[in-house]
């Protein structure tokens, strides 16, 4: 039995503790804002926060989250008005939008650690998140806008 907290709610899971957190939050909990993109921590679509740190949930077993606190995009801000979410809309970042929840989760972890990131900080924090629509220029602009 794995016990963990997801978006502030206590959860327990008695299935395979090796199941990636990604499939646990999606298939078991129905939190579908976290996306599957590659399964090998190469694209960042599945990014969530584990005790505040950005992790790739496709390469994090549910068992590894035992006793920890998981935040998904659904739990980032109660009203969906995190400065990054607002900036994403103001800048018009999303195209297809599929990768954007993962992008926002990576960016949120960056801003928590580094409230005024440089271009290099942004490159380092965001290089793990692929966007096939190619919205990078706007992602960079939105992160800067959210950072103020």
């Amino acid at each position: 039995m794995v016990r963990l907290k997801v978006n502030g709610t206590e959860r327990s899971f008695d299935g395979d503790p090796a199941m990636p957190l990604l499939w646990y939050v999606r298939d078991v909990l129905g939190l579908t804002g976290t996306k599957y993109g590659c399964g090998i921590a190469q694209c960042g679509s599945c990014t969530v926060h584990l005790d505040g740190q950005a992790v790739r949930s496709c390469q994090t077993a549910v068992g590894d989250a035992e006793g920890k606190s998981v935040t998904t995009i659904e739990g980032l801000d109660p009203r969906g008005e995190h400065p990054l979410q607002k900036a994403w809309l103001a800048v018009g970042v999303p195209q297809c939008g599929y990768c954007q929840t993962g992008q926002i989760m990576s960016a949120a972890a960056l801003l928590k650690e580094t409230p005024k990131p440089t271009d290099e900080d942004i490159d380092n924090a965001m290089a793990g998140n692929i966007c096939r629509c190619g919205t990078y220029v706007r992602i960079r602009a939105a992160i800067k806008q959210a950072a103020g």
Partner: protein, 762 residues
């Protein structure tokens, strides 16, 4: 760029609540396949299956509270169509955009007109019918108000969601008129009145995408997010070699995996299979993870079939050998042999672009439920009608017994025009009636079972006279055709493919010949964003820069000289069967004035010719595709290790009349990045018949740290009289040649084979 009003978020929430209680009034019922108002024969839209429909009762409904629902029948994959198409309707309807709700259509072309969301066609083909929809609905509301007030309809006017009687100042909201408006006759096409372009407040101005708030909060529903009660999850092992098939399998170990419930064989269809699945063995489980583990535990023997020895390196060598010999002439004027012989300077170059996978960030998936002889599928497809018809065919049902619910697409790029994954889900659902089944493709499945972008060798010989002017141009293109999925392999590029940058070459060269060489498809091919424009434009625009260099001329000036004076270039005069993207050449000619204008605009914006530091350079390329003209200037820098960075890109785009400028900019920005991945990073290769690349560690894409630092997009304001053209695809083709030309300017090294990877190292 348009800023988003923050109330947008709460407004959408409010509309959801209202929609739950509001009745659909104007669209009292969907009509059967009734006659649409005659469409204008001047658009290629009419030539598409099921053409266009402009009946307002199909697309518009108004609730008593005034909420206007507008149907979007095209698929949203990031191009912004769920905003653009309804904006056109709202414009002519005089609707208040903040009170508009967008409803996604099911796959039903008899009802909605063509739904094939590809070919950069949505705005091009539906600007006119959607204006007609809006205008007709507006006139029905006006007629209803005039009747209510018992006044002449000429004295009433629809203004911003209400109808006004000017003489008395009386006003009625759309919601108050909806019931009566629904009973008004639909105006005949010739009676429709339209707004003047100067009156537009949405068309040409745009709006933020309607799905934005849902996207950033994780609420947006993609194919992978569909959840139905009792949902089961399936992954499928497919034949690793194109044309291969299942010999035998043992599911004993797979069935021992906790959560695995069933293992099902899916029969494949031998090539040419169109969109039918490749077949294989499906593992159905309680969750995706169990299904993946179950598949890993399958023991399968495959019969690899005729392509078991296919090898990309050998294939490349064969294509090069073919390109060295005369091919099939697809365009000719003058005498290119004589002109090449007599040229003062002769250039010869071979360009290579490998296969590519679409690699949509959302891998293909579909959820199907089969019950009582009917099948419902929820999936992100660009072609819900093909998904419906082919699913029905495969399941032995009538098309009306299959319903395709189109979700948002997490990327499309042409991959999701091919609904094989939807058919797979339907096949499995039929095996377990009543149980909804999700077929989930893993990234490996996606990259190794794609309908690949073709592989191409392009060989160009050019002759210059003593002054450096181009006098001869011979372009041989060797690439397997995507038509090999539809018919026995023709072995040559089709009219559609050669019409994407080969035979529609606009250059002013007296002796010009285009040829194709034979190449047979060894993998499953399909159209990929921009299609054959990618290799053709790469070769043509690189050679243009090579010629400029050989002539000792500035690349931009030489390109303008190659384009020649402003004129209409008509390759049909050279015997070409020009498809012109399915549209009338008289409406959408090849206009060198527009090519020249985007070249000059992009160059000016990029400060072409202004000095740059050592190992930095600018490159330019221009290309007309999907009836739109795009020029791209890339400013590239190369460090001592050969690492490339891109400080700035300038794009000029002329797509004629348009709806949502910020989405045009977004498409051009994204096209640059996709073009950059093609240029620098990605490649699909085959060894022993098997695709080598399996995930993003080997199929590499451009990331944040490598992307251009700035992309400036300049939209040519043509006015509304110039007909709308494509936006989704035309930005891709000029990027790679512009980058490679910039790298030449920076380093003096000419790259002719993509991807670039570390070719500049050392």
């Amino acid at each position: 760029m348009f800023s988003v009003r923050i109330e947008n978020v709460s407004r959408r929430g409010m509309l959801r609540g209202l929609a739950a209680t509001g009745g659909l009034v104007l669209a009292a019922r969907f009509l059967p396949a009734g006659p649409a108002i005659a469409a204008d024969p001047k658009t290629g839209a009419d030539a598409m299956p099921h053409g266009t429909v402009n009946d307002p009762r199909v697309f518009v409904s108004i609730a008593p509270d005034g909420t206007v629902s507008i149907v979007c029948h095209r698929a949203e994959m990031g191009q912004g169509v769920r905003t653009g198409i309804p904006l056109i309707v709202a414009e002519e309807l005089e609707a208040d955009w903040s009170r508009v709700k967008v409803v996604q259509a099911i796959g039903h072309e008899e009802r909605y007109g063509n739904q094939d969301t590809d070919g950069s066609r949505s705005t091009r083909h539906f600007m006119k019918p959607m204006r007609e929809v809006g205008a007709a609905a507006r006139m029905m509301l006006e007629a209803a108000a005039a009747k209510r007030w018992n006044v002449d309809v000429k004295g009433v006017e629809a203004v911003n969601h209400q109808v006004v009687h000017h003489a008395t100042g009386r006003k009625l909201g759309y919601g108050e008129l909806a019931v009566e408006a629904a009973s008004m006759p639909v105006p005949a096409q010739e009676k429709l009145s339209f707004k003047r372009p100067q009156q537009f407040r949405y068309i040409g101005k745009g709006a933020p995408i309607v799905d934005g708030p849902d996207i950033v909060t994780g609420k947006a529903q993609y194919s992978i997010d569909v959840r139905l009660d009792g949902l089961k999850y399936a992954v499928i092992a497919r034949p690793p070699v194109h044309g291969g098939k299942l010999r035998s399998f043992d599911a004993a170990e797979a069935l021992k995996v906790p959560g695995v419930e069933k293992v099902v064989e899916i029969a494949g269809t031998p090539p040419p299979a169109k969109f039918m699945p490749e077949g294989g063995v499906a593992v159905i489980a309680a969750n995706t993870w169990a299904a993946i583990k179950g598949r890993d535990a399958l023991k399968i023997e495959w019969d690899d079939g005729a392509n078991a020895a296919h090898d990309s390196a050998k294939y490349h060598a064969e294509m090069s050998a073919t390109a060295a010999k005369p091919g099939k002439t697809v365009r000719n004027h003058g005498n290119v042999e004589t002109a090449l012989e007599g040229a003062a300077k002769k250039l010869e170059a071979e360009y290579y672009i490998p296969h590519h996978a679409h690699a949509t960030m959302e891998p293909p998936s579909a959820t199907a439920r089969f019950a009582n002889g009917k099948c419902e599928v929820w999936t992100g497809v660009q072609s819900p009608q093909a998904a419906r018809d082919d699913t029905a065919k495969r399941l032995g049902l009538q098309p009306q017994d299959v319903t395709i619910h189109t979700t948002l697409l997490g990327g499309g790029f042409g991959r999701k025009s091919k609904p094989d994954f939807a058919i797979e889900a339907a096949i499995l659902a039929k095996e377990m009636p009543g149980t909804p089944i999700r077929v989930q493709w893993t990234r490996e499945d996606d990259l190794q079972h794609d309908y690949y972008h073709t592989v191409s060798v392009e060989r160009i010989e050019a002759g210059l006279d003593a002054q450096g002017k181009a006098v001869a141009w011979r372009h041989r293109s060797v690439a397997p055709t995507l038509f090999s999925i539809f018919q026995p392999d023709p072995g040559h590029e089709s009219a559609l493919e050669v019409g994407m940058g080969l035979v529609d070459n606009p250059f002013d060269v007296a002796n010009l010949r285009c040829e194709t060489g034979r190449a047979e498809a060894r993998v499953r091919l399909g159209w990929f964003r921009s299609v054959s424009n990618i290799p053709h434009a790469f070769a043509v625009q690189c050679m243009a820069a090579e010629m400029a260099h050989a002539a000792g001329r500035d690349a931009k000036d030489y390109l303008l000289e190659l384009l020649g004076p402003p004129r209409i270039v008509d390759p049909r005069k050279d015997g070409v069967e020009l498809w012109n993207y399915g549209d009338d050449f008289a409406v959408y000619p090849i206009d060198t004035a527009r090519l020249r204008r985007v070249v000059e605009l992009a160059a000016a914006s990029a400060r072409w010719g202004s000095p740059l530091p050592q190992r930095q350079g600018r490159g330019i390329a221009v290309h007309r595709s999907f009836l739109t003209y795009v020029a791209t200037v890339v400013h590239a820098a190369v460090d001592a290790n050969g690492e490339i960075s891109i400080p700035r890109v300038d794009v000029a785009v002329d797509c004629g009349a348009h709806v949502n400028p910020d989405r045009i900019r977004a498409q051009m920005e994204g096209a640059c990045v996709m073009g950059q991945s093609i240029a620098q990073k990605s490649e699909i290769t085959v060894k022993d018949g098997r695709i080598v690349e399996g995930n993003f560690d080997t199929f590499e894409l451009v990331r944040m740290n490598e992307a251009p630092k700035e992309i400036h997009v300049h939209i040519v304001e043509t006015g509304f009289d110039v007909p709308p053209a494509g936006v989704g695809e035309p930005g891709v083709p000029p990027f790679a040649p512009a980058l490679v030309n910039a790298l030449f300017a920076a380093t003096g090294k000419r790259i002719r084979q993509l991807p670039i990877r570390d070719q500049l190292a050392g």
